[in-house]
Amino acid sequence: MSTGGSMKPILEIGNVTYSYHTLQGETTALNDINLSVLPGQFISIVGPSGCGKSTLLSLISGLIKPDSGSITINEKKIEDSNTNIGYMLQKDNLFEWRTVYSNVLLGLEIQNKITKSTTKTIDDMLKAYGLENFKNARPSQLSGGMRQRVALIRTLALEPDILLLDEPFSALDYQTRLEVCDDIGVILRREGKTAILVTHDLSEAISMGDVVVVLSKRPGKIRKIVQIDMEISNRTPISSRSSPKFKDYFNLIWKELTDNV
C-alpha cells in the first residue's frame, strides 16, 4: 500500500506539543510530534499506556487544539479543511433508546445528510456485515463484535477520508477481536481509506499497519517509525500474522518499547 515519494501527504503533523492542565499542575502529554501520512496508508501507533496516543487522535480530529505546532489535512488547517474525519472510539457507544438502524443514522442525522443515496449505502453495508436482520433490534440484543460493526458503519456512513481508530477492539474477547480486526482491515484496504490506529496490542499494530509509529512514555515523543513490508500479496491482518517477517517486526518493535522504560 505504501507508495512512492511523489504522492502528497493527506495529513501532516509538524512539531506538535500538547499539555493537560489541572490545579495540581501541568502534564505534557505530547512533545514535538512530527508525522506525515500518505493517502491510503494505514498507520499504527503503539506506546506505553498514558503516552498520549489517544490525545494525538483527538488533536487530529480537531476536538482539541495543540499548544504549539501545526496539523494540516490536504495542506489546509483542520478548521478550514472540508476533509471528513471519522473517529472510532474504544467503546461502541451505541444508544440503547435507538434501534440498530437509527444508531447507524446518527451521524447523517446530525449532519443533515440523510438522502436516498446515503441510506442505500447504509443498507448495503448492513447487508455486507451480516446485520440486515438486526436493523430493528436494540443494541443490547447484539454481541460485542456485532456492536462494534454497527459502530463502524455509523462512522463509515459519513464517508470519511481519514479514519481514526482509538483501540476500537479492546472491549472484545480475543477471538472476536481477531475477526473484527480482520474484517475492518480488509474493508479499509478495499475502500482505500487512510487510517490511523492507536493500540497497545503490538501484534494488532503490526498485522494491520503499513507503518508502525512507536511513542515513548510520557511526555510522548516519536521514538521510531517502522515501515512494515510482509512480502505477501493481498495482505490481510490474519495473513500478516502468519508471515515469516511478522516475528522480526515484533521483536524489533518490542525492543524499542522496552528499551524505553
Partner: protein, 264 residues
C-alpha cells in the same frame, strides 16, 4: 413440564395468594374493628366517624353532586400544578445545563429552597397573591419544583462523557448533544421524577386548599374539622388516597410502556 418445575410454580403461586389474602384480611379487619368499636360505643363515632357513616355521607354528597365539584377542583389543581412543575423543572434544568457558570452560582440557593419546608411559604403566598386558586397552584409548584430541577439537572450531568465525545466526532454541536443524547438518555429519570411529583403536587394542593380555598378536598377537610363534621374529613382523606393511587398508577403505566418500547 417436570415434576420439580410444577412444584416450583405451585409454591410460587401459593406464596402470591397468601400475600394477597392477608392484604385483604388486614383491610377487612381494620374496617370491621372500626365499625364494631363505634357500634358498641367503645369509641365515639362523633369524633372518630365510622365506615358506614363515611359511606352514607359519600352517597348523600354524590346525590347532591357536591362531591364531584370538590374532587374535580382538587384534581384539576393537581394536574395543572404537576404539568407546570414538569415544564418548569425541565426548562430550568436545560438552562442550568446551557449556562454552567450560572448553575454553579445558584446551586446553593437551589439546595436551600429544596430543603425548606414549603408549607412555611403558603401564608406569605396568600398575602402576596390573595386567597385564590393562584395561591394554591403556586404553593403546590413550590413543594415539588426545586427537587425536580435538581434531579433532572443531576441526571443531565451524569451523561457518559464518551457519548458526548461521540456526538462531537460525528460533527455535532451543543444542541445535538442536548437533543440527541441528553434528553433521550434522561427520559427514564424524568419519568421517575414524575412519579414522585404527582404525589407531591397533590400534597401541595391540599396544603394550599387548607389556607386559601372555597372548594376542594383540602377545603372540605379543614372546614369539616372546624364544624366537627368528621365524616367529611375522613371521607375526603379516603378519596385523596384513591386519587393518589390512581394518578401514580397512570404514570407507572406510562413508565412500563416506555420500558417495553425500549426493550423491543
Amino acid at each position: 413440564m417436570s415434576e420439580m418445575q410444577e412444584k416450583y410454580i405451585k409454591s410460587f403461586k401459593r406464596q402470591r395468594y397468601k400475600v394477597l389474602f392477608f392484604r385483604i384480611m388486614l383491610f377487612v379487619i381494620f374496617i370491621g374493628a372500626w365499625e364494631g368499636a363505634t357500634h358498641f360505643k367503645m369509641i365515639d363515632s362523633f369524633i372518630f366517624s365510622s365506615p358506614s357513616r363515611v359511606l352514607i355521607t359519600f352517597i348523600n354528597m354524590c346525590k347532591s353532586g357536591q362531591i364531584f365539584i370538590h374532587i374535580g377542583i382538587t384534581l384539576a389543581e393537581t394536574l395543572v400544578s404537576f404539568s407546570l412543575v414538569i415544564l418548569i423543572g425541565l426548562g430550568m434544568a436545560i438552562l442550568l445545563w446551557m449556562f454552567e457558570t450560572f448553575s454553579k452560582i445558584i446551586e446553593p440557593y437551589l439546595v436551600i429552597l429544596n430543603s425548606l419546608p414549603k408549607s412555611a411559604l403558603a401564608p406569605i403566598l396568600i398575602v402576596w397573591l390573595g386567597s385564590n386558586t393562584k395561591t394554591i397552584i403556586v404553593t403546590a409548584i413550590s413543594v415539588a419544583v426545586f427537587g425536580t430541577i435538581i434531579s433532572i439537572y443531576t441526571s443531565f450531568n451524569g451523561v457518559d462523557t464518551e457519548k458526548v465525545k461521540l456526538i462531537y466526532t460525528l460533527g455535532g454541536k451543543r444542541k445535538d448533544i442536548l437533543i440527541k443524547l441528553i434528553l433521550p438518555s434522561s427520559l427514564p429519570m424524568i419519568i421517575s421524577t414524575m412519579k414522585v411529583n404527582i404525589g407531591l403536587s397533590l400534597v401541595g394542593v391540599v396544603i394550599g386548599e387548607f389556607l386559601a380555598a372555597k372548594a376542594g378536598l383540602g377545603y372540605l377537610i379543614i372546614y369539616g374539622s372546624q364544624v366537627f363534621k368528621l365524616d367529611w374529613v375522613i371521607m375526603s382523606i379516603v378519596i385523596l388516597c384513591i386519587i393518589a393511587i390512581g394518578l401514580y398508577s397512570i404514570i407507572n403505566r406510562i413508565e412500563k410502556m416506555y420500558t417495553k418500547k425500549i426493550s423491543g
